[in-house]
Symmetry: C2
Subunit: 440 residues, 2 copies
Amino acid sequence: MNSQGVPEPSADLLSLATAVRRAAVVLGQSSNQQRQQALMAMAASLEAHADRIVAANAEDLAQASADGLAPALVARLKLDAGKLAGAIDGVRQLSSLQDPLGARQLHRELADGLVLERVTVPLGVLGVIFEARPDAVIQIAALAIRSGNGAILKGGSEAKCTNQAVMQSLKEGLAGTSVSVDALDLLTTRAESLALLRLDGLVDLIIPRGSNELVRFIQDNTRIPVLGHADGVCHLYVDQEVDCTQALRIAIDSKTQYPAACNAIETLLVHEKIAPIFLKEAVPAFQEAGVCLRGDEASRDLGVEQVATSDDWSQEYLDLVLAVRVVKDFDEALEHIRMYGSRHTEAIATVNHDTAERFLRAVDSAGVYHNCSTRFADGFRYGFGAEVGISTQTLPPRGPVGLEGLVTYRYRLRGEGHVAADFSEGREQFSHRDLPTGTE
Amino acid sequence: MNSQGVPEPSADLLSLATAVRRAAVVLGQSSNQQRQQALMAMAASLEAHADRIVAANAEDLAQASADGLAPALVARLKLDAGKLAGAIDGVRQLSSLQDPLGARQLHRELADGLVLERVTVPLGVLGVIFEARPDAVIQIAALAIRSGNGAILKGGSEAKCTNQAVMQSLKEGLAGTSVSVDALDLLTTRAESLALLRLDGLVDLIIPRGSNELVRFIQDNTRIPVLGHADGVCHLYVDQEVDCTQALRIAIDSKTQYPAACNAIETLLVHEKIAPIFLKEAVPAFQEAGVCLRGDEASRDLGVEQVATSDDWSQEYLDLVLAVRVVKDFDEALEHIRMYGSRHTEAIATVNHDTAERFLRAVDSAGVYHNCSTRFADGFRYGFGAEVGISTQTLPPRGPVGLEGLVTYRYRLRGEGHVAADFSEGREQFSHRDLPTGTE
C-alpha cells in the first residue's frame, strides 16, 4: 500500500463525477442514431478547432523540450495536423460501426407468458487514466460515447494544454446534440486522478494505460473494477516442422515492426531439431534488423551472441532486444510460456496443422496465433475500429478492447403476473424454450 | 485492511493449488463428452456413498446442536437422503446442458488467408468460499467440472465432516474418468481460505457466498478477481396504471416466498395515485402473511403501522419485514432505486406497456422485471440448470451465474505467414469480412 494513501474526493470532484453519471444515465438510453450523430458532431468540432488544438500541442511540446523530456516521449506527445486528422477520421469510422448496445444474447420462454431476454447495455461511466498520448483522449471519448458510456479522463501532465483543447472541442461538439456535454470530462491534477479511485458507485470501470507500476498501484487502491493490462511478454514458438523462411519473416515482424508495443515478442522459442537451420538464417537477419539477441547456452552455440539469464525470460524489453531459447520439444515450449508468459499473445510457426491446433487449444493467453505476426493483436486490425487498450485479464473483456468490451448486459423478464410459488408448489411448470434472438 | 492481515500461503496450500491448476490445464482441453462422463461418474459415486455422506452430516448436525447453533442455520446445514438425492439429480441434469465451451462468438476474415475467431474457454481455477450449505459443494463442483474449470472449495466449518465426505466421493467418482482427481479440492481451515486470496496466478476467480462483510473483506484483500455479490436490496414499484390484484400477488410472492433470499424485495414503492386503493388491500394481506411493514408518512396515513427511516431504504432485512414508500411519480421511483438499490433485481407492476418499457430501459440492475415476482432471479429458473450465485457487479458475469458465467474467451488467429508490415506499408489490405459463426 502506498504510504501516501489515496486522497478523499474533493467536493468539486464529486460534483464532476455526479454530473458525468447523470449524463451517462440519459446517454445509456439513447438511440444508435443519437450516438452516431454525437460522434459526427464531435469529429466536426475537432476539425473546426484543429488550429487551436495543434497550437495547444505546440505549447506542450515546447514545455516538454524545456523540461528535457526524452525524445521518444516528445515524439509520442506530438499531435500535429496530420495525426489529428487521422484521429478525427477514426471518430467518423467508429460512428459507422455496428451499435454494440441492445444486442440480444439470450431469448427464452421460461414458461407460458414469462419471457426472459438478455441484452447488452453500457457499463455506465469509465474512468480512464493514461500517460501522454493526446490522441488517446479523442479515441477514448469517441469509444465511450459510441458505446453509451460517460467518461472521466486523466491524461499525462505533459499533454495538459492539448488535452484541455481537445476536451473543450469535444464538449462544443456535443453541445448541439442530444448527448449532454457533461458526459465527458477531464481531470488535470494527480490528486484528482488518485481520488477517482474512491468513486465506486459513480465510476464503473477504471482503464489504466501506462506502466505496470501504475496499473498495479491502481489495482491495489480501488474497489472499482480495473481493466487488467499487465506486461506484454509475448512469445513466438518455431516448431520442428516449419517453413523457415515464413517463420523468420513472422519473427522479424513480431519483434521489429513496433518494438515498444505490448504485442511485440520478447522471447523466441525454437525446437532443438530445427534450431541449427533456423538460427543460421535468423541470427544474421536479426542483426541486420538491429536486434540484440540474448540466448541460452544451446542458442549461443548456434550463433546468438549475448547471454540470457532466467530474468530475461520474464523481461518485457519494449526495445530491439529478443531473448532466445532452444526447447526440447513442443511441451517444453508450452511449459515455458505457462511459466513466463503474461497471457497476452503467443504464436506458433509450423506447417503441421495438428501441432498448430494443439497449440491453439493449450495456450491460455488472450490471443493465440498460428503462422502470423503477434503484431496483429490490435483493435484496428481485428476490425473493432478502435481500442482502449489490450486486456490481459482472464475474465472478459480480454485481448484488444473495442466497443464490445465497453458494454455489459442485463436480464429483462416480462410476465403476466407470474409468481414463483405457483412453480415451487407445482401449479405451473417451466418450459425453458429458447426463442430466436433476432441475430441469426 | 484487516489488522490480522492475510497469511502467506503454506507450502501445502501452494502444492494443492498447483496440483489443481495442472489438472485444470488438462481439463480445460477436454471434450464435452469427457466432461459429461465425469459428471455422471461424480453423480454415481455420490449415490453409491450416500449413506456415508448422510452419516457424516449427522455428525455435523449433532455438533451444531451441541454448540447451540441457531435453528435456521441447523436447518440449512442438514443434508438428508432426500436433499442429497435432489443434489445428485442436479448433477445429472447439468451434464445434459449445452457445452459452454468452444462456442464461437466471432468469426472474421481480417484479410485473405488471415482468419480470426473468438471462442469460449474455461476460466481456469475457481476459488469458492462459502458458508455452511453442504449441497453447495456438490453444485459448485459439478458446475466447475462441466465448464472445464478446476475448483478449490472452502465450506463452513459447521459442515466440515459432510464436506469432506462429499469431496471424497467426488474424487472417487473422478478416479475412473479422464478428469484428474486433483481438479477438485477442499480447504478445511480459515487460515487456508485466507491464504487462498494470495494465490493470484493459480486461482482465476474467487466466488464468495456469504455475508456482505465476508465479501467485502475478500474484495479488499486479494488481487484475484472476485465475483461481486453485494446486498440484495430489491424493489417492486407499483405504478398508477396497474392491476392491483396481480400486483399484490407479485408483491406477496416477492417478499414471502423465501424472505432470506437475496432476490426477495426489501422495499415496496407505490405511486401516490394508486396508493390508497393498493395499500387498502396490501396492508391486511401483508399482515396476514406475517410481514411487518415499515413506511414513510404517506404510507402510514394509509395503514402502514411502523415507521421507516432513511436507514430502512438501504436495509436488506432477509426477513418478513418490508419497507414501504409512496412516490410522487415514476421518476421519483427511479430516483429511489438509483439511490438505494444494490443493482440486483427490480420489478414494476403496471398495465401500461410504454411505462414498463421505460422502466426496463432505465433501471440499471442485473435483472429488471415487468409484472412478475423478483423471486425468478435464479439460475434454475432461468434455465441454467444450476448457479454459483447471483452477481451484482456491473461487468459480466451478471445476475444468476451458471455455466456461461464460468467461462471466458480467447482469440485465435490463423494466417499463412501474414505480417503487419505488409499492411502498414500498403502492400496488403484488411477486408474485415464477417463469416458465419456456426451458431446461426
